[in-house]
């Protein structure tokens, strides 16, 4: 089983993107940082007790599922959209959603376009090998519009093409658009069109057929989300871990019940996961939130209590 | 052997430099129709350069070269005219390896003289017979021995019916047995009265056929004389030295 392998190797092999601003990118010291990376780190901390016992495996859109299927990685955390075919036909197991995204369009303001429905005949830059391509094709077909796709291998090149005006529109997940726009020298001259043409629930993926491992990843993610809901932060984690009067928090942090053991881990798995970089909200804020150059608003990714979709099933 | 009074080549005060190197210095030479001149001299003395100037494979910088009444200048037409009057045989034959012997011989007549192919071939066979290798006509140069190749090269030049033939050490790349073949061919030519300038160290050949031997050193004509005098009674010290080396070995 994956858990045994991970424990035996004492390292978690985590598949990430070869580079996507805010989600996974190496810093000057060669340490991978980002929103997707944080999920890996949380799982590593939960399972192995050390958020650094990770081997990051950069994957392209084309190699990601094979790497997972062949056991080259234990966990894929690489802005991967949860779709029916991927789940059922390609035999992956999606364990949850860490980011609710949707495909959007970015365009220069001075093009005078206010809506995606006015994009008839536009040249569209698009990354290949993703669901984006299919969504785009469907969207224009449904709206009876023409377009000229310019498929590009990497985000960087797509940006370059877009900035140089080689395409009118750049389409990818709205989070990526925002992240990209933020780094422009003339960010103000670009806008993201209001239409979001697809649902892109992004989440960590594990191999089909190992339910225990899927549960571990799922509940580690849920722990991060729940922690935000219950106000467990990296600042007050120590104190809360000593025990609170909220049994849900106690169960979450391992003071009550034996949820951890049920997973095959120890009682404090969630505590360690949260300790890495805080709860979901903190991770969001420090990697892609409004305080960062990426500057994403919580939007759909707010807690359900605040009108968002982030909703952890109860720890019970 | 008759030598007419007609001037075939007239070189006056000719100078040539390779870059800053003064190769030929104040060359004065008159060659008459039908004359056979042997040029010798130490290596690097400018013999090859001199005869290459005559058909403008090299450009001279000062002085005058008049071949058959035409002055060599930058005028392309003159150069063409002179080149088809002057045949040249190289040390390394320079046959065209992708063409048969016959094609080697007919190429220039057809494309320069605009001779019909049939006629060109007949003439080529005639000259190939003369150099005694008509049976090789359909082979390729690579299939012949060195001596045969050089004879083809002579035939190839003859096919253009030149009035003057230049030879640049035609036998020095050959094995001893083959040298004889080629020299025999050249002697035959000489006997027919062809104007010839031959750079060679074959002193036997010089004595047998030359009207004049020219000795060059350091880009200058140091001595010239008729062969008997030249060999038996050299005047200049350099010539003596050179001859003692050449004949000694």
């Amino acid at each position: 089983a994956t858990l045994d392998d991970v424990k035996a190797n004492d390292v978690l092999k985590c598949g990430i993107s070869t580079g996507l601003a805010g989600f996974s990118a190496p810093d000057a010291n060669g340490v991978w940082q980002g929103f997707d990376v944080a999920v890996c780190r949380a799982v590593a901390a939960a399972v192995l007790g050390d958020s650094n016992k990770i081997e990051f495996v950069p994957l392209t859109t084309q190699t990601r599922f094979t790497a997972l299927g062949s056991g080259e990685i234990d966990l894929l955390s690489r802005n991967t959209t949860w779709t029916f075919t991927r789940d059922v036909d390609l035999k992956q197991t999606f364990v949850g959603v860490n980011y609710y995204d949707g495909q959007g369009f970015m365009i220069r303001k001075d093009m005078g376009v206010g809506s995606a429905t006015e994009l008839d005949g536009a040249t569209v830059c698009i990354q290949t090998g993703t669901t984006t391509e299919l969504n785009l094709s469907d969207y224009f077909r449904v709206n009876n519009m023409d377009y000229d796709p310019v498929p590009i291998e990497t985000n960087n090149e797509a940006i370059q093409q877009y900035q140089a005006g080689a395409c009118d529109v750049y389409t990818t997940d709205a989070s990526g658009l925002a992240a990209t726009r933020a780094t422009f020298e003339d960010a103000e001259a670009h806008m993201i069109l209001p239409e979001i043409i697809s649902k892109e629930p992004l989440g960590p993926v594990v191999r089909h057929g190992d339910d225990q491992w899927a549960d571990i990843v799922r509940w580690t993610l849920n722990a991060l989300i729940a922690a935000e809901e219950y106000g467990v932060t990296s600042a007050n984690l120590e104190k809360m871990a000593e025990g609170t009067d909220n049994p849900e928090i106690n169960r979450l942090l391992g003071n009550e019940g034996n949820l951890g053991e049920m997973l095959g881990l120890d009682a404090e798995f969630a505590r360690r996961a949260i300790a890495v970089a805080g709860n979901y909200g903190e991770i969001f804020a420090s990697n892609i939130g409004e305080g960062t150059p990426i500057g994403l608003a919580r939007g759909l990714n707010a807690q359900w209590t605040q009108g968002g979709l982030m909703y952890s099933p109860p720890f019970r | 052997m008759k030598v007419s009074d007609e001037v075939a080549i007239q070189i006056t005060d000719m100078n040539k430099w390779y870059g800053d190197f003064h190769v030929l210095r104040d060359i004065n030479l008159t060659v008459y129709q039908g004359e056979r001149i042997v040029i010798c001299g130490p290596s690097g003395s400018g013999k090859s350069t001199l005869i290459r100037c005559i058909n403008r494979l090299e450009e001279h910088q000062k002085g005058q070269i008049v071949v058959d009444g035409i002055e060599l200048s930058n005028d392309l037409k003159n150069i063409d005219k002179i080149r088809s009057e002057v045949g040249m045989v190289f040390q390394h034959f320079n046959l065209f390896p992708h063409l048969t012997i016959l094609e080697n011989c007919t190429l220039a007549p057809i494309w320069v003289r605009k001779t019909p192919r049939k006629e060109a071939e007949e003439r080529a066979m005639h000259f190939l017979t003369k150099v005694k290798i008509p049976e090789q006509a359909d082979k390729y140069p690579g299939q012949l021995s060195g001596g045969q190749q050089q004879r083809v090269a002579i035939a190839r030049s003859l096919c253009m019916m030149p009035r003057i033939m230049l030879f640049d050490e035609p036998t020095s790349a050959l094995d001893p047995e083959m040298i004889k073949e080629v020299l025999d061919t050249m002697i035959e030519l000489a006997e027919e009265g062809m104007t010839m300038l031959v750079v060679t160290h074959e002193m036997g050949f010089a004595q047998a056929v030359a009207n004049r031997v020219i000795f060059m050193d350091q880009g200058q004509i140091v001595e010239q004389n008729e062969p008997r005098e030249f060999f038996n009674n050299p005047q200049s010290d350099r010539t003596k030295l050179f001859l003692s080396q050449i004949l000694g070995h």
Binding site: T128, D148, V150 | R83, M88, F90, H92, N94
Partner: protein, 403 residues
């Protein structure tokens, strides 16, 4: 003396399998064959096991399914409702297109650069050296990416062609933009069939004239101006008929409509960048081949031709080129082979070649990597075997002439 004659000739002993030259090779081959077969079946067995473990099968059924994605450059009809097989075909044609264009341009560039490297113009020779060394010693991938980026950044955007923009069309008919080049496209009107017929007729006439000129030269020695007449025959009748017929072929000019130019022929940036990069890169190698070929023809050859009175141009065509080509063509064809294979780097600019469709999106969407990669590899293999087959035939034919 007595001779110990080995009379093992007739009777067979097992040791002969190893020590008898007649059987030894057989033994080795049988052992090799068994080992190879074992290795192969081990690999196949693993594949079967792995497929079973992942619950997959090996079938090409996915080729018939709806592809669902769009391809921006199609030489044949295709839309997102077409099948994966058709998408693969579109990609294959795109590969062939860029490989063909690349070979042509690379040859032109290579010949020019190779000849100029030998030029007695110091500056130009040096610049060509820089070109050749620069392209040969930097990875092709980097060149492709750089040229693609350069084209995107260096050329005007379509909107610059609007009123007040600072770009304008060349001759009012060609738009060079950073999305590609828009060219006028011929529109075949009524009567254009006649024009085509005239054109075919002039091709025939050129052929006939060449034969006639050759015959005539053989007979009289006269040399007719073949090149000039051929060119005239090539262009004149077609032009004359064009006007006689009242211009049956019109051009549809590209026009700025909405976001983009419409009408005309659109050469995409991805195609141009890939094409240019492949050609420049391969051209650098071809330049070296051409230079080597010309240098292989010793100076003596052209001097001999000059001494015979042949003009430089004739010397080139009758003496130097026929010899140089023998040296040049075999390595040239293997460069074509390389170029064709390198066209798979289309991935870097998003040019939709066979790798991008069949070996990329299709595999990605269907999860059929085994089948997809197999077909892709097969395609390239067949292509290169074809090209090297041509090369072998050519090599054999020139060897024949040398005897």
């Amino acid at each position: 003396m007595s001779t110990v004659v080995d009379d093992g000739r007739q009777s067979f002993r097992p040791s002969m399998l190893l020590y008898d030259t007649r059987y030894r090779s057989l033994t080795i081959q049988v052992v090799a064959a068994i080992l190879i077969a074992l290795g192969m079946s081990w690999l196949l067995w693993n594949v079967v096991q792995n497929l079973a473990a992942q619950g997959k099968d090996f079938s090409f059924g996915f080729l018939g399914q709806r592809a669902g994605y769009d391809i921006n450059q199609q030489l044949i009809d295709y839309n997102s409702n077409s099948s994966h097989a058709r998408a693969a075909l579109v990609g294959i044609l795109n590969t062939l297109l860029v490989a063909f264009l690349g070979c042509v341009l690379a040859t032109i560039l290579g010949v020019i650069a190779g000849v100029l490297r030998l030029s007695n113009n110091w500056l130009v020779a040096r610049m060509m050296t820089v070109y050749v060394e620069g392209f040969r010693n930097v990875p092709l991938l980097l060149w492709i990416i750089a040229i693609f980026a350069l084209m995107a950044e260096g050329m005007p955007q379509p909107r610059d062609f609007r009123e007040g923009g600072d770009a304008s069309m060349v001759l009012d008919s060609v738009a060079i933009t950073n999305r590609g080049i828009y060219l006028p496209m011929p529109v075949w009107g009524p009567g254009s069939g006649v024009l085509l017929a005239v054109f075919a007729a002039s091709l025939a006439a050129i052929w006939a004239f060449r034969r006639y000129a050759h015959k005539r030269q053989e007979a009289t020695g006269e040399i007719l101006p073949v090149l000039g007449v051929s060119l005239a025959l090539f262009f004149l009748p077609a032009i004359v008929f064009y006007f006689i017929l009242g211009g049956p072929v019109s051009l549809s000019y590209p026009e700025l409509k909405g976001f983009n130019f419409g009408g005309g022929l659109h050469l995409r940036n991805s195609l141009i960048a890939l094409w240019l990069a492949l050609s420049l890169y391969t051209g650098a190698f071809i330049a070296e081949i051409v230079r080597g070929g010309i240098l292989a023809i010793s100076k003596g050859q052209s001097e001999a031709a000059f001494a015979l009175g042949l003009r430089p141009r004739r010397t080139m065509s009758l003496v130097v080129l026929p010899q140089a080509l023998r040296v040049i063509i075999p390595p040239l064809i293997s460069q074509y082979l390389n170029l064709t294979k390198n066209s798979s780097l289309a991935i870097a600019v998003g040019y939709m070649d066979a790798r991008a469709t069949l070996g990329g999106i299709t595999i990605n969407q269907t999860g059929r990597e085994l089948e997809g990669m197999f077909l892709l590899g097969l395609f390239y293999l067949v292509l290169s075997l074809l090209i090297s087959g041509v090369m072998n035939i050519y090599n054999a034919s020139i060897k024949l002439k040398e005897r």
